[in-house]
């Protein structure tokens, strides 16, 4: 990327020729979370009600796995349980461990646990980061492998149909969603008026794979998309951190008002500050019914309950066979 790049997208995030799905996830998911870990963690503290309810209805003494636990915000929700967290990002796991949680670094497709060990598991906002249907199913199967028959699994994934905080192009399921880091620096002048929506299906290969120019262009557009995005927990840009002077500094979510002052300082810098680097995370946005389809394709679980909450599709499944 040239030095003129106004978005400070660092070279590690340039698209590479012939990337495998695993390499793309490394580039557009793992590397990003590794870099944004402290800032990401500072915006993640309030449990989503459906997850909290799920954990609180688990019998005392149950043993659970939080696969893709991030900073571990769900691990202490019900102290009568014993939960083990895992994440690809060692920086997020460090935060998790500092909080006294049991945590390890590992890949969701290759969990290091004995089969059928756990009474339950959760996968919150994780499966949507896998780049192909095969890998998304494999991720679900791997969770099912380590849960006992009769055990329940709660899965949350981002919805394509979300209307509240973002307005995704309904034809585009595979998108980059920018994460802007806070940073004190001179405000930038460049600003485009275009309103791109992720990567069009027909452009996906181009953008994700080879042509650096194409990728750079996609990224700039995507970053600009963050300018017009409305408020969301997943939109730190919208939480009072305009990349430029875009008027999207909406009131922060109610859940954010409990934030300690110190964290607020990070998340809501003074208006005179401009944003720092922008990192693009890959997401597969799930259509209604898509998550359930994946689950049923494993033939190892039934759907106990499902719903839509906070821009996510979620379902609770029960493992029916090994």
């Amino acid at each position: 990327m040239s030095q003129k790049n106004p978005l400070h997208i660092p070279s590690p995030f340039q698209a590479q020729v012939d990337m495998t799905p695993a390499q793309k996830e490394q580039e557009y998911v793992h590397n990003v979370y590794q870099v944004i870990a402290p800032h990401f963690s500072a915006t993640r503290y309030k449990p989503w009600p459906v997850v909290e309810e799920f954990l609180k209805t688990m019998p005392p003494g149950f043993v659970g796995a939080d696969v893709g636990c991030g900073n571990g915000k769900y691990i202490g929700v019900n102290p009568s349980l014993f939960m083990v967290g895992s994440d690809r990002s060692s920086n997020l796991i460090s935060i998790c461990a500092e909080r006294g949680h049991e945590a390890m670094v590992c890949d969701g497709l290759a969990l290091p646990y004995r089969p059928q060990f756990f009474d339950f598991a959760i996968s919150i906002a994780v499966i949507h980061h896998f780049i192909s249907p095969e890998r998304r199913i494999a991720a679900i199967e791997e969770i099912l492998r380590v849960v006992r028959v009769g055990g329940r699994v709660l899965i949350f994934v981002w919805a394509l149909e979300q209307t509240g905080k973002r307005d995704f192009d309904k034809d585009v399921q595979d998108v980059f969603v920018p994460w802007a880091m806070p940073k004190k620096s001179e405000p930038k002048k460049e600003k485009s008026k275009s309103r791109p929506q992720g990567i069009k299906k027909k452009d996906r290969k181009k953008a994700l794979a080879n042509d650096v120019e194409t990728a750079a262009e996609s990224m700039s557009q995507l970053a600009i998309q963050s300018d017009s995005a409305k408020d969301s927990e997943d939109q730190p840009v919208a939480q009072g951190m305009p990349v430029e002077s875009a008027p999207m500094a909406q009131p922060v979510e109610a859940s954010d008002t409990t934030q300690p002052a110190e964290e607020k300082e990070i998340v809501n810098p003074a208006p005179s500050q401009s944003a720092g680097p922008v990192f693009n995370r890959y997401y597969h946005l799930f259509q209604k019914g898509e998550l359930e389809d994946l689950v049923l394709q494993t033939k190892k679980a039934s759907i106990v309950q499902q719903g839509y909450d906070r821009d996510n599709w979620w379902c609770i499944l029960e493992k029916t066979s090994n």
């Binding site: 005392p60 014993f82 083990v84 290091p112 004995r114």
Partner: protein
């Protein structure tokens, strides 16, 4: 990493499916840290634990408190549950290595955190 977690870990290198548990602890630094006793959890663990592996692992770490076999009345044996609690929940591995007895893959533990990530060709 608590000792309980060691008891649930196995080597997961592609193709390493037999004799991949328990991972052998080496160069281990331990630390005791008090935790609240959760009897429900301990009782639930009795069926999940690979008890023999736990005892063998403990002996290598010079932890000699556990009986060689699990008492028949373990479920209601307060003294045993206390010991079990101290061993599996209050004993932390701060650093060391875990070596697969089958493929010899080494998993490092640093700052109390095991790194179970594999290289792409190992998955």
């Amino acid at each position: 990493m608590r000792l309980i977690t060691h008891n649930m870990l196995q080597c997961h290198v592609k193709g390493c499916n037999a004799n991949n548990f328990p991972l052998e602890l080496q160069e281990v630094v331990l630390e005791q840290e008090e935790a609240e006793l959760n009897e429900d959890f301990l009782r639930n663990m009795l069926n999940k634990l690979e008890y023999e592996a736990l005892v063998a692992t403990c002996l290598k770490l010079d932890i000699n408190d556990l009986p060689a076999t699990m008492p028949a009345d373990a479920m209601y044996n307060d003294e045993f549950l206390q010991i079990l609690h101290r061993v599996i929940l209050e004993t932390h591995i701060k650093s060391g290595k875990m070596v697969c007895p089958n493929c010899q893959h080494i998993y490092n533990i640093r700052d109390g955190i095991p790194n179970m990530l594999l290289a792409e060709h190992e998955v």
